[in-house]
Amino acid sequence: MVLDHQAHSFTVVRRYVSFLSYPLYCVVDAPWSLAKKLGGYFTGHQSLIKENQELKQTELMQAARLQILETVETENARLQQLLQAYSQENMTFKLANILQVDADPFYHHVLIDKGSNVGIKVGQPILDRMGIMGEVVEVYPFNSRVALLTDASHAIPVENLRNGVRGIVVGSGAIDRLSLQYVPTTADIQAGDKLVSSGLGGRYPHGYPVGVVVEVKHLGSESFAKILVKPIAELERGHHVLLIDRQPDPEISEKEGS
């Protein structure tokens, strides 16, 4: 046990034995995925038409916003070049499903249905449609285990979208709560502020939504404020997730190499 905790010396053993647990995961997950498939099969014609219309509308609106985004992106790149800042990295996305399988309640982990067979690596960030969910902590042949933001051992560097104040968001062990730590009492943080990943540390990409500040408590005696944050991603319900694969920018690796 000590070896596993301190030295992770059983990672390989785990990986291969987990191969055997794959069928068990499938069996437990089967009723849920089957119910979903059947649900899709029996959805009425009317509701499908309605859903299609709604999707078309949102697509149109998003396309309109994308048009301006492209301009902004090129402008941004030009400005960054002027400032000689690093350019954005190349990122590719992979789609995965969350398996309906529970982990130990001590850990806020979920299992996804992609593993080393499609090239998932430890440390890859996971997104859902709202924001960052967590990162891959263990990879098996056909599954991987993802630690959610709320896991008590998880932390992510963030910045305030409003004014760029930096801090670290740490999991609390409760599914709907995070805490923003290491922010001095004098820093300008208010309830309702949006926090995005700051990209420091290089594990998470810069600029993805993490949470919204719910409450700021100033305790007289302490030098750091106590700040409660609500995660933006749908940690309890999300079903489809995106894995980010980051190719290091050739320019950056060149600069780092020299």
Partner: protein, 160 residues
């Protein structure tokens, strides 16, 4: 060394399999902490019923597989199961003379020992259980015990 036996009969394995599935079954966040300890209960039942077949060896392997399924530290559940099986083994002679209520008390103590062991390990690695809710699963385990033991009893007789 009568405690350590190598053969695990099919019935034990099958009920453990069902218990593992119940452990992995998705539950809403609030109910997760009071999920009965299915695997511990099944092991206790078989230790009482077939003390010559189910021993520390079985307990160890069942716990280890549980660790792999749940992604906990390898050996965490194994240690807890071995302890539970050991004490269950010590008590199984006396158990025949016990009333159902006394039996339930014994199960309460046994599951409690297992949970305490898990909590100690968690505390050692720096994420101790928060609040009293953690012990809720021990209570629900005892409440479900009469039903489970009746069911397993029925299953065992059917399978003969």
């Amino acid at each position: 060394m009568r405690l350590i036996r190598g053969e695990i009969p099919f019935k034990v394995l099958f009920s453990c399999f069902l218990a593992w599935m119940l452990v992995l079954m998705p539950l809403p966040e609030k109910l997760k902490w009071i999920r009965p300890e299915w695997v511990t209960l099944v092991l206790i039942y078989w230790t009482f019923k077939k003390p010559k077949m189910v021993g520390l060896f079985t307990g160890w392997w069942v716990g280890l597989i549980m660790d792999i399924l749940q992604g906990t530290l390898l050996g965490q559940h194994a240690l807890a199961m071995v302890l539970v099986v050991y004490f269950a083994h010590k008590l199984h002679h006396r158990l025949r003379a016990f009333t159902p209520l006394q039996q339930a008390l014994v199960v309460l103590v046994l599951v409690g020992i297992g949970q305490l062991c898990l909590a100690l390990v968690q505390w050692q690695i720096g994420s101790p259980p928060k609040g009293m809710l953690y012990w809720g699963s021990t209570l629900t385990s005892v409440l479900i015990w009469p039903v489970l033991s009746h069911f397993l009893n029925y299953y065992e007789r059917k399978a003969h």
